[in-house]
Structure formats: structure tokens, C-alpha cells
């Protein structure tokens, strides 16, 4: 497949629906700007000049293709299937998020928008957005929950260094979901000159499809790399799921390969039974939030309930609608990993392979470590190592009673 090819499929439908999920559940003021965005996105993703520019940026600025790494020593210790890591942690800014922000920023430029806004949880998407805005000379405002700002001070400083204005969100639970609400409120107020770069495959149509299409470069590269290395497709894919953009990016090019098992890993926090988690697919129910119908963490009255995960990037009460559809259709399976299991995997990869993973990605690694011993040695597991763990030093240290 040509690297600049961007996938299109039968889903979503014209209204942005993946089965009963997805859609465009927003106030009237945003309906037209969303339609304007859809038209631009469909046009430019078929435009050879746009695609060439995107490809050059991904190569020269992001550092793509990212390597595929065989974690040989870790695989041997686990004693089962071979584990391959897609090294999105090696991208510029340290995570897969930049694949999407590079693409959306190019779209913003084409649409003549001069002001960029974004929401962020852990700060990775905010940093990736501030980065591309700096490069293109666009004004950038990032909304971040007050609670998350305290947890991720270093990323707040990075965004400010890059010239972004970071706005503390003090409403609701003061975390990612509230940052998203606030970004939507900004957009509704400044629709004429502002482009909203959503960081995940959630939100109203066309965002789930648009973000997916910018992230599928992960799966396309990994598929070709693994085929070249092993001569066959992986037996299983594993990726963590918060909103679900790194996971869709990996899964999407394999959806038609029925022999490839697909596992999305949510955050079980203190354990699904405790209620203190962020696992809407494993333990939630369908509803409507942030412009789309999907699985949510909600109470019996339809109010969104607080979530918990050690990983700020997974600490979100919803999930991309395509994941909801993949769950119901049975094509992908969704499991959950606790904070403790994720931290154990964080240490294991660090000590055994010399790679410090993000806590988000550590959820996928922890599941792969459970799965590998159940599979024969001639099989392989492809794990998306979606980000690096530098940002999580303080979180891990303080959990272990260490002051940095």
C-alpha cells in the first residue's frame, strides 16, 4: 500500500454513524462548522498535494516510519508468543498524538483558520497541538482540567514554552471531560476563525473518522513491517483504549484480517468491582456525550460519573464510537488492566528491554504479558507502544513513596 494512501471504508455512514453509535449530537450552532469540516476533510484526503505534504511532515518532522521492535528478552521471559512493539514512543513529542495534530493543523491551514484550540488530559495531545501550532505560526489555546494541570506540571510548562495559552478548566470534575466541554464552548463562540483539534476518535462526526484516518499510519506501517520481518500477519493486536485513537490507528488496517485477534485494553483503575476505574466498554452502558453515542461511565439518571486511572490519558468516561461498534460486532475484544498491573508492566519493560513506556501504553503491555504465555512460540503479538514514560516519572515515583 502506498504510504500516503488514507483508508476509506463503508463506516461510518454519511451521518457519521457506526451502527447505532457515533453521529453528531451537538447544539445547532456547531452543525454547520462540523459540516464545513467534513467537506474539507473529504476533499483534502483525496488531494495528492495535501497528502504529499502530510507524508513529508510525518517523515521529516515526526520521524516516521516509527520502528517495529522485537522485544526478544521480554518475550523469552514470558515464555510464549513473540512480542513486537510498534514504537510510537519514538515520535517527535513522544507519543502517537502528533500523527493526528500534524494532519489536522494542515487541514486548519487549508481552511484558512488562524486559531487552534484543543483539550488535553495528560498533556500529550496538548503538547502535540502546541508543537504544530508553533511550527505553523498559529495561535493556540489548550483547555486542561485544573486537576490534570496539577498532575502534569511539566507538560503545562512545555505547552507554554511552545507559545500556547493553557486555560485551567474549573468546572465539573476538572479533568479531561470538562476540558472537552470547555473547548466545545470556545469553539461555539469563535467558530469563524477557530479550528478545534480533537485529540481522540471521539466527539461529533467527522472527528472519529478524521482522527482515525490520520492515525491509521500506525497500523499500515506495522502491518508492512511485520510481514517483512516474519512473513506473516500477527496473531494478536494489543493497544490501550482511553478515547481510543492509538488503538484504532493500529487496528483499522487489520479489521478485514479475520485471523488476527484484536484486544483493546481499558483502565481498570483500582479494579472493575470497586467502581473506581475508566472502563466504559467493559463496565459501562451506551449513552450520548460530547457529540456522539457510545459506551459511557454513567449513573442510572444519565449523569456522567467520575473516573479513575493512574494514567491521565485513559481517565475519560467515554470511548470512540467505532470501538463501541467493534465491541458489539465482536470483531474486537475489550479487557481491562488495573493500576497495579500497569505499573508492574511499566517496570518490567523498563528493566528488561531498556524502554520506559507511558503508563497508558503500560496497560497494553500488561495485557500482552498475560496473553503471551497462553500462545505458542511461533505466534506473534503486536503491541502499540503508544507513548514514552518520561511524563510519568513523578506519578510512578510518588506511588512508590519516592520524592523526586
Amino acid at each position: 500500500m502506498h504510504p500516503s494512501h488514507v483508508d476509506t471504508t463503508q463506516l461510518p455512514d454519511a451521518g457519521g454513524h457506526f451502527g447505532r453509535y457515533g453521529g453528531r449530537f451537538v447544539a445547532e450552532t456547531l452543525m454547520y462548522p462540523l459540516e464545513e469540516l467534513r467537506v474539507a476533510y473529504e476533499r483534502y484526503l483525496k488531494d495528492p498535494t495535501f497528502l504529499a505534504e502530510l507524508e513529508a511532515d510525518l517523515r521529516d518532522y515526526v520521524g516516521r516510519p516509527s520502528p517495529l521492535y522485537h522485544a526478544e528478552r521480554w518475550s523469552r521471559e514470558l515464555g510464549g508468543a513473540r512480542i513486537f512493539l510498534k514504537r510510537e514512543d519514538l515520535n517527535h513529542t513522544g507519543a502517537h498524538k502528533v500523527n493526528n495534530t500534524v494532519g489536522q493543523a494542515l487541514l486548519a491551514q487549508r481552511m484558512g483558520k488562524t486559531r487552534i484550540i484543543a483539550e488535553t488530559g495528560a498533556g500529550q495531545h496538548g503538547v502535540a497541538t502546541a508543537t504544530v501550532a508553533a511550527r505553523l505560526g498559529l495561535t493556540c489555546v489548550v483547555y486542561m482540567g485544573e486537576v490534570d494541570m496539577a498532575r502534569q506540571e511539566a507538560n503545562v510548562y512545555r505547552m507554554r514554552l511552545l507559545g500556547a495559552e493553557v486555560v485551567a478548566v474549573k468546572s465539573g470534575s476538572r479533568t479531561l471531560k470538562d476540558a472537552l466541554n470547555e473547548a466545545l464552548r470556545d469553539w461555539v463562540t469563535n467558530v469563524d476563525d477557530t479550528f478545534y483539534i480533537i485529540g481522540t476518535v471521539a466527539g461529533p462526526h467527522p472527528y472519529p473518522a478524521l482522527v482515525r484516518d490520520f492515525q491509521t499510519v500506525i497500523g499500515r506501517e506495522a502491518r508492512a513491517q511485520l510481514l517483512e520481518r516474519t512473513g506473516r500477519l500477527p496473531d494478536a493486536l494489543v493497544a490501550c483504549v482511553g478515547g481510543g485513537s492509538n488503538a484504532i490507528g493500529l487496528f483499522y488496517p487489520f479489521l478485514d484480517d479475520a485471523e488476527v485477534a484484536i484486544y483493546g485494553i481499558e483502565a481498570a483503575g483500582d479494579g472493575l468491582a470497586t467502581g473506581r476505574h475508566a472502563a466504559p466498554l467493559c463496565a459501562g452502558t451506551p449513552g450520548v456525550l460530547h457529540g456522539n453515542r457510545t459506551y459511557l461511565m454513567e449513573d442510572r439518571d444519565g449523569q456522567i460519573i467520575p473516573t479513575h486511572s493512574i494514567s491521565a490519558g485513559l481517565d475519560y468516561p467515554g470511548v470512540g464510537p467505532e470501538h463501541a461498534w467493534l465491541k458489539d460486532s465482536g470483531r474486537a475484544r475489550y479487557e481491562a488492566i488495573t493500576d497495579a498491573e500497569a505499573v508492574a508492566a511499566f517496570h518490567a519493560l523498563t528493566r528488561i528491554e531498556g524502554i520506559i513506556p507511558a503508563l497508558e501504553s503500560s496497560h497494553a503491555l500488561a495485557f500482552a504479558a498475560k496473553l503471551a504465555p497462553t500462545m505458542p512460540k511461533d505466534q506473534s503479538i503486536l503491541v502499540n507502544l503508544s507513548g514514552r514514560g518520561d511524563k510519568d516519572m513523578h506519578t510512578v515515583a510518588s506511588r512508590e513513596g519516592i520524592r523526586l
Binding site: 453528531r24 447544539a27 445547532e28 464552548r185 467558530v191 456522567i304
Partner: protein, 272 residues
């Protein structure tokens, strides 16, 4: 059968009057405040009441209405509780239309059929679901209409003629024109822009048109009253309630003083 909303607008039209519609959040600042306040507002001359259903993530609302939702949710006010308040109000007032305004998720979770049946039974006349545009409300509008309820749609400065036509196909009761690009309670009201946008809306939609967002005092209410069928006042009402959150017994008088002032200004604006 003609619904209470349509009856009310017909009656006002006969008197060449513009409707005054206040918005309050049900259960704000405490649940016992709501029903007596509704009766007091009727006595102060309002024509229809918009009752907000509290939601944890009110993404189209500004800070004032967000905080009112948070205050109500501290008392765990649910959609069922709100329906109970309407039922209580209806026991003493069979004439004033009540429209619930909120977000889709609480209705999704209750189930459209169950909600429509219970809302109709409680005496609700219409429902405005902020995040349910025509494209996403085919099923809901059918079920509500079968239960005798109007689904009130929004139109905005960004609505194209194509979108106005879409709303014209499905709307009943009245339509709600959002006068500014922004969230509730924000921005600067530009009456000339409102007038310009109302032209295609009037041409394409036969229903009464209410205008809301950004009306905060008697002067802005009077200017809007000259061009709209209803003046809708949300944040300015709710802000007065917030100021008295610790003295809720004073809320009805304060809110009604404010609304009486608007009523007088609106009626004076209509005089030749």
C-alpha cells in the same frame, strides 16, 4: 388537539403581545425552591416556563447555568425528580405551558418511550434537547409527538437555509433562535443581526420564533420583543438566583421583580 404551547402563542397573537419565557434549572439552588418559584413567575406575568434538567456536562452552557446544574446535582436532582416537580406545578396550574430544556443523555438512559409517557402524564408540553439536532432526533420527535409533546428545535446564526428547511420539516410548538454565537449568558447581542437572520426563518417556518441567549435586561428584552414572538431569559434569571443561593426564601421576590420589569418593557415595546 391544539397543545398548550400553541394555544398560548395563539392567544398572545390575538392580543398583539410578545411572550416572556424565563429559564430556571430545576432543583436550583435546592429542590423545594422550584415549584413555588414557578407559580410566582406565572403571577409576575410570564407566559411559558423553561425548566432546565440538570446535567453533569452542559457543553452548550456558560458558567452561570453550569453552576446552577452543579447546585441541583448536589441534591441529586434527576429527570424523574424534574417530572415530579412539573406534576406538582400542574396540580395548581393547568394553563401555563412548561418546556423541559436539557441534554439528551438523561432521556436516552430513561428510554424515549418511558420518558414520553411520563412527561406527558406529568403535564410537560414540550422538550428542548440541546444536543439533538434534526439529524439525530427522528426517533425521539416521533415518540414525543405521539405522546402529544412538542420537540422545540434551535436555530443559530450559523444555520444555513438548508438547515432552516430541515428544522421547518420537523419542528412544532415554536422554534428557539439562539441570538449569538456562543454559550448561554455570553457575548454581545446584535439586534440588527438577529433581525437579518429572522427574515429567512420567518419565510421558511410558520411557527412562533422565540429569541434567547444574551438578553439580560429590560432594554435588550424590549429590543428583541419588537422582532420576536417570545423573549427568552436564562442566565440573567439564574444569576439572580445564584446570588441568593444561601437565602432561597428571597429568590421568588427577587426573580419576580426582575421578570415584572421585563414584562413591562416588553409590553411597552409592543405599544404603537
Amino acid at each position: 388537539m391544539m397543545g398548550r404551547i400553541t394555544q398560548r402563542f395563539e392567544a398572545l397573537k390575538g392580543q398583539s403581545k410578545t411572550a416572556l419565557i424565563p429559564f430556571i434549572t430545576a432543583g436550583d439552588p435546592r429542590p423545594p425552591v422550584t415549584v413555588p418559584l414557578m407559580h410566582a413567575m406565572v403571577a409576575a406575568g410570564v407566559d411559558l416556563i423553561e425548566l432546565g434538567v440538570p446535567f453533569s456536562d452542559p457543553m452548550a452552557d456558560g458558567p452561570v447555568i453550569q453552576r446552577s446544574s452543579e447546585r441541583a446535582l448536589e441534591h441529586r436532582v434527576s429527570l424523574l425528580d424534574v417530572l415530579g416537580m412539573v406534576r406538582e406545578f400542574r396540580a395548581q396550574d393547568a394553563r401555563t405551558p412548561v418546556v423541559l430544556m436539557g441534554y439528551l443523555n438523561p432521556i436516552e438512559v430513561m428510554g424515549y418511550d418511558r420518558f414520553a409517557a411520563q412527561a406527558g402524564d406529568a403535564g410537560v408540553d414540550g422538550v428542548l434537547v440541546v444536543d439533538a439536532p434534526p439529524e439525530e432526533s427522528h426517533e425521539l420527535v416521533g415518540i414525543l409527538r405521539a405522546a402529544g409533546l412538542d420537540l422545540i428545535y434551535l436555530l443559530a446564526p450559523t444555520s444555513t437555509e438548508e438547515r432552516i428547511a430541515k428544522v421547518a420539516e420537523v419542528a412544532s410548538g415554536f422554534v428557539y433562535y439562539v441570538s449569538i454565537k456562543g454559550v448561554t449568558g455570553s457575548g454581545h447581542l446584535d439586534v440588527d443581526q438577529v433581525v437579518a437572520k429572522l427574515k429567512p426563518i420567518r419565510r421558511m417556518i410558520r411557527l412562533p420564533v422565540g429569541v434567547g441567549f444574551g438578553i439580560r435586561d429590560a432594554a435588550s428584552a424590549a429590543r428583541i420583543a419588537r422582532v420576536a414572538d417570545a423573549v427568552i431569559v436564562g442566565s440573567a434569571t439564574v444569576r439572580r438566583m445564584e446570588d441568593l443561593a444561601d437565602m432561597p426564601q428571597r429568590i421568588p421576590d427577587t426573580v419576580c421583580d426582575f421578570l415584572s420589569g421585563l414584562r413591562a418593557a416588553i409590553d411597552a415595546a409592543g405599544d404603537p
